[in-house]
Every structure is written in structure tokens, then in C-alpha cells.
Symmetry: C2
Subunit: 205 residues, 2 copies
DNA sequence: TGTACATCAGTGAACGCGCGTTCACTGATGTAC
DNA sequence: TGTACATCAGTGAACGCGCGTTCACTGATGTAC
């Protein structure tokens, strides 16, 4: 169903969608411009009406990924309000949920090798995403006495790292292939222990 | 300096070394059989005297990586003995140190897309590496009352995930590009907070 | 409403390239006598 | 020590392939009158 006339109707987005599918199936290596064009039912040359080239297409895919990612994180944050703790935990869960639901987007963002600083727009939207996590961390850190309060940026980085590590190591391939726990359980328990270490959760429960 | 006669002397290893260098410089995507052969001063066809093909060469690179990795982790573990805590922390640091010192090996192991189960030998040596971390986690967990003791495999997975995440997100590119902290500081502090959450480190210090 | 024209998304052929892989070969090295 | 032979690591030419990219083009769509 072409939204608007011309020949294809919405080729630009069709190409980005094909890229997501290909990247998901074959990894960033497996993605080719020609194959994406073929999946969109179009000649490879047609791609150049909408993108400067292969890299540019991947960058747009990553940009769209960060946009959705930031929205999801923001929504998760809001869902936990007004509890700073609930908001923080929800953003952690949202990270993994995003990686599960949009694997092609995730890979385009984090494994395709394109730089966050490729364009100003890409840097902006990537910053928006990490900004949500930092906001959640900052709100949470206010429950720690200022004297012994670690920088919020630091522990948002910790949570980001653990989330990313769980995705990369345990959320791929057949369930249980690398660990007897699901990625969700691992992340949930990991964050729980970490927050207890920060003194933000009672030591016993 | 060819070790032993024939034509090249030690082409097999020279090819693996070229692979490490190329993978480090250009990522797993950038690695090509032809380029590796060229760097070793040899025709692409010569590669087939030593490997079944491109994949086989990468698998051997990953295998050597896991071997060194396991040795390093084991050594770190021993260096912390007889303190279970010191051993555990040392293995965490060794993880990051390995990623820093052998970036080509690291990428071949974790980002080249080759499966750990490609050969029995590869699975064995990869298992040896994660075994060290699990051993360290198990020893440490014995300081927790059995009733509230989480499975050692679980928190070795947590530490592995955080280490891997820190490497992928913060140990690459120019220092400070994604965070004001060094990867080392982030990992050290992250593990510290996590261990406090487990009750293995005093809450104040 | 109908006609003439402008726009421009997509075509199709062509390019040069480096890839992984194969094959019959060659010639240096190691070995038997 | 010298000669004949076997081994086999590396050669060089060739292959078919799909890649990203370019270019002059075409023909459907939108617009002006």
C-alpha cells in the first residue's frame, strides 16, 4: 500500500526496513546494499535517490533505532514515577526489552561500526537515549547521602554496561546455551544486587 | 627468521598473526583471507595448505585467544590466593587487561560471529576460560550463608556481563569519548559496588 | 476537462574491484641408499 | 660424500561471484494553463 504516488511510494523507509531485517538475519557484515534493494523490489541504483550510499543507509537505520530506544526508555522511566527506584529499574528492563524486540535496530546501533558522531543528528538522538538513563540515575542518587554519593553518570554507565553485556552474551542464540538463566533473570538479579551495593535497597528482604 | 626449513618456515602462525592485526585494525568485517596472505608475504592459495578456509583461520585465531585468556585469568586467580575476594577481583581486572592487550584476539573471540561450538576443541578452551571465573565466584560465594547464597554461576555471569559491557562501550575509541571515566575505573568501581551488594565487602569503608 | 510540459523516482547496462576458492605445476627441502 | 628420489609448501593463473557505484535514459506522476 503505497502511501503516496510516484513509483514505489515509500522506498526510503522500505530500504531501511529491509536493512533491519538483513542485519538481524545476517549480522552487520551480511548486510549489502544490493540485497536491501532487491528485498524492496528495486534496482540497486535506486537506492542512490534516497541515500548517499551504503554507510548512509546504515546510519539512518541506527538513527531510527536510537529514536525508538530513547522513546522506550523515556516511557519506562515515566511508568516508574514518582518512585526513583522503580523508574530506574524499569529503564534497565526496557533496555533488554528493546534489544529483544528490535534486534536489527540494536545491531545497527551498537555493532555496525558506525560512529555516534557521524552526523550531528545521530549524536543528538544517541545522547537523548543515554540522557534518560542518566536522568534516572541522578534521581536515584539523591537518596544517597551527598557525602558518599557517587557520580550519577558513573552508575548509569555501570548499568548500561551490565545491560549491554547481558544482551551480547546471554540474549542471543538458543535459550540456555551460555547460561542456565534467562537474560531477563540475569539482568534483574544483577541490577538488584548492584542497587543493594549502593545502599538503595534494604540488605535483606 | 624461519624456525624450520621448507619455504616459509612458520606460515601457519604468520597467517594467524596477520589475522589478529587485520581484525584489530579493521574489525572482523575488514578481515580477508587474501589480505592476510599478502601480509604474510604469500599467495592466497598458500593459505589452503594450513587451513580449510577463511572461517577455519578465524576459528584458530579465536582458539588461541581463549587459550591466552584462560591462562591470564588463571594466573590472576592464583595471584589473589588465598583470599577468595582478592582472587575474584583480580580475575575481573584481568578480563579488561586482556581486552586491552590483545584487541585482535578479543574481537576474534567475541565479535567475529564464529560459534563457540564450531569445534570440540574450541568449546573446550572457551569452557576453560569461563571455568576460571566460575571457580573464583564459587570460592567467593562460600563466604555467604548457604541459605541466602545465590548460585555462583549467576554472579560469575553478572561480572562477565559487566566486564564485557565495559569493554565494548567504554574501552574503545579515544579515552573519555563516551564517559568521563576510564574503563578500568568503571569496572573496578562497578565490581566493588556489586560485591558490596552481595554482602562480601563492608558497607562503609 | 483536456493538453503540454516539467519533474524526478526508478531503470538497466556497465564499470572495476577484491573476494574465496580450485587446480595443475614447480622447485626447495628432507631422506634413502 | 654423492646421487636419485619422494615429499609437499607455495606458485600463478584462472574461475565465477556479488559488491558498491556511475550514468544516460525513460516513463509515470504532478502541475500550469
Amino acid at each position: 500500500m503505497p502511501k503516496r504516488g510516484y513509483h514505489h511510494g515509500n522506498l526510503r523507509q522500505a530500504l531501511v526496513d529491509a536493512a533491519f531485517k538483513l542485519i538481524e538475519q545476517k549480522g552487520p557484515t551480511g548486510f549489502t546494499l544490493s540485497e536491501a534493494a532487491k528485498q524492496a523490489g528495486v534496482t540497486p541504483a535506486a537506492v542512490y535517490r534516497h541515500f548517499e550510499g551504503r554507510e548512509d543507509l546504515i546510519a539512518e537505520a541506527a538513527r531510527q533505532g536510537y529514536e525508538i530506544f530513547a522513546d522506550l526508555m523515556e516511557h519506562a522511566y515515566q511508568s516508574g514515577q514518582p518512585s526513583a527506584l522503580a523508574s530506574f529499574e524499569a529503564t534497565g528492563r526496557a533496555y533488554l526489552a528493546f534489544a529483544r524486540k528490535y534486534p536489527g535496530h540494536y545491531v545497527a546501533m551498537f555493532e555496525s561500526g558506525i560512529s555516534i558522531n557521524r552526523t550531528a543528528e545521530l549524536a543528538r538522538v544517541a545522547g537523548r537515549a543515554s540522557g534518560v538513563l542518566e536522568k534516572a540515575a541522578l534521581a536515584l542518587s539523591e537518596h544517597i547521602p551527598p557525602a558518599k554519593r557517587p557520580p550519577a553518570v558513573m552508575f548509569s554507565a555501570h548499568i548500561w554496561a551490565m545491560s549491554h553485556g547481558v544482551v551480547e552474551l546471554f540474549a542471543r542464540g538458543p535459550a540456555g546455551s551460555r547460561s542456565p538463566f534467562t537474560a531477563e533473570d540475569l539482568l534483574e538479579s544483577g541490577i538488584g544486587i548492584y542497587l543493594r551495593g549502593l545502599g538503595l535497597v534494604p540488605p535483606d528482604e
